[in-house]
Symmetry: C2
Amino acid sequence: MNISEAGERAGLPAKTIRYYEEIGLIRPGRGPNGYRRFSEGDVHRLAFLGRARALGFGIEECRALLALYSDEDRASADVKRIAEEHLEAIEAKIALLAGMRDTLRELTRACAGDARPDCPILRDLGAD
Amino acid sequence: MNISEAGERAGLPAKTIRYYEEIGLIRPGRGPNGYRRFSEGDVHRLAFLGRARALGFGIEECRALLALYSDEDRASADVKRIAEEHLEAIEAKIALLAGMRDTLRELTRACAGDARPDCPILRDLGAD
DNA sequence: CTTGACCTTCCCGTCACGGGAACCCTTATG
DNA sequence: CATAAGGGTTCCCGTGACGGGAAGGTCAAG
């Protein structure tokens, strides 16, 4: 099948698929006209990548996960380690954002939000 | 004062300050030797920017906030609107990350993490 | 006079694509 | 048969907010 059908079935835009080929995540065949030809296996790998990306794994983590996926002799410990490190990174991001959220909630709560210039938000940002 | 002292006092690296000048967030003077000269006001604006960035505001939001900060006739409603929109964006990011976190927690919990190849994480990613 | 610590500009790399140009291939239709 | 639509291809630029590093000018101290 061509790239747009593969994209529909894997849930990825064609641009993304071309990019994944460029960086070596997939290797679709080529027809005599130069068009990429995707096998069922290619679509399966693409869908795998789409789900891994949806969980926030970076490209290099996806590459490692895909290699483990194809390796019958893998140790699940290797997979788990990657997932746990990623989980920790996500939890750190959440903690950072939650701090911002709490401050912003407090500041917006305290701000009248009317026509007057007095504003606790700007006071906080401009605090010496 | 020169850029490194301004950076120390505002808590920003010199590279960042040069970037802020390049995109027009600040306009420090110049000495006869071509060095940037920072006033107390410059340092104050830089510190303002540093705090706004620490709350996750984007550069253009910082530009708008800085303009409102310098405007004696501002309406606090304008500031509040920017902050509330940003707050919503942050809450959306947190929700997205929390979803990933929950899935990853469940998957890593279910994974034995030993030498065997059987792995719920890869099963999930490869699910048809 | 030289050393070393500053400062300057300029350019490349980040991360994972998206937009768009310029051009080729295939299929359907008048 | 000519053409138009709707695929596909490569290539290049832009994103956000800087960081790293090169090449070179400036300044204070020993």
